[in-house]
């Protein structure tokens, strides 16, 4: 009788340990999955930032920003130039402000991260950053 009781206590102890292990495992898997998603997002952000900087520099050096964007395979839709790079997309909006002594070109490059995790809180694309760019072009007298 005493032996049976001892065996039952051991069984309950192991069941509690297994339950605790399962709970810990669930938490750990979630933590690792979040860490992985964060790293993938950070990678996309790094690449998007490098690409956005390249676009900003190319636009600064170009005489015609629209032609340069077209050359870089951006597509114009509703006044905004867009291009998808897989994990992220770049949106370029710009306007030219004529002044007395020349023209001020102002642009904004917005990067969006394409969510691939269906369980994410927001299934739509998430904004990563906005990179403003400008160029002043003197009028030729």
């Amino acid at each position: 009788m005493e032996s049976k009781n001892r065996s039952n206590v051991l069984l309950i102890e192991i069941l509690i340990a297994v339950l605790f292990f399962m709970l810990s495992a669930t938490v750990l898997v979630r933590v690792f999955a979040t860490a992985r998603n964060a790293t993938v997002r950070a990678g996309a952000e790094t690449q998007a930032l490098a690409q956005a900087q390249n676009v900003a520099e190319a636009l600064y050096a170009a005489d015609d920003p629209d032609a340069e964007l077209e050359r870089m395979e951006f597509i114009k839709s509703h006044g905004v130039w867009t291009r998808s790079y897989g994990e992220y997309s770049l949106y370029v909006s710009s306007e030219a402000l004529p002044t007395d002594a020349g023209e001020l070109w102002q642009g904004e490059i917005i990067a969006f991260y394409s969510q691939r995790d269906p369980s994410a809180a927001r299934p739509e694309d998430e904004e990563l950053f906005t990179l403003p760019c400008a160029r002043y072009k003197e009028a030729q007298s």
């Binding site: 069941l15 297994v18 860490a35 950070a42 490098a50 390249n54």
Partner: protein, 161 residues
């Protein structure tokens, strides 16, 4: 008969406990292995991100620091294409060469009068290729790191003639 049945039941309980213990040990090991693998993957990706950023940030900051009228150029000596950043310090012309040589990115700071010697520089980091081109005021550098990942850096020269 009753004693025999109790004995069988008792040994079944013992086996069940051992199976449960075995399962626990197996799952624990799997969990540790899985966790280690995921951690390694996360660290690898993080390191790759940092390396990408370091390479492009290095080129960008070097060009930005030396951006003066006519100071940035691309020159080829003995088959080695180098990014040449010239500066004038206390009456003497100096040049900083950045180039790919022996699967490394090298930097060499020397007086402009000296001949270019690729062995005389300092190794910065491992790269497979480094191809700078200058088109008007837009400097484009195409690089491939040691993991064959391509990276392009574009810098518009503010002081370009």
């Amino acid at each position: 008969m009753i004693g025999k049945r109790r004995s069988v039941q008792h040994s079944m309980q013992g086996v069940f406990v051992f199976v449960l213990l075995g399962l626990f040990a197996l799952m624990s090991t799997l969990m540790v292995l899985l966790g280690a693998q995921m951690y390694r993957g996360t660290v690898d990706r993080s390191t790759a991100n940092n390396e990408d950023r370091v390479l492009s940030a290095y080129v960008r900051s070097m060009v930005r620091a030396e951006d003066a009228r006519g100071a940035v150029g691309v020159e080829t000596y003995d088959g080695v294409t180098a990014l040449a950043l010239r500066e004038h310090i206390e009456g003497t012309d100096y040049v900083t060469w950045i180039y790919h040589y022996k699967d490394q990115l090298w930097e060499q700071f020397t007086e402009a009068d000296y001949d270019f010697d690729p062995d005389g520089g300092t190794e910065i980091c491992p790269v497979k290729s480094f191809e700078p081109t200058l088109d008007g005021s837009l400097l484009t550098v195409r690089m491939t790191d040691e993991k064959e990942q391509a990276c392009t850096v574009q810098v518009a020269l503010r002081c370009a003639p």
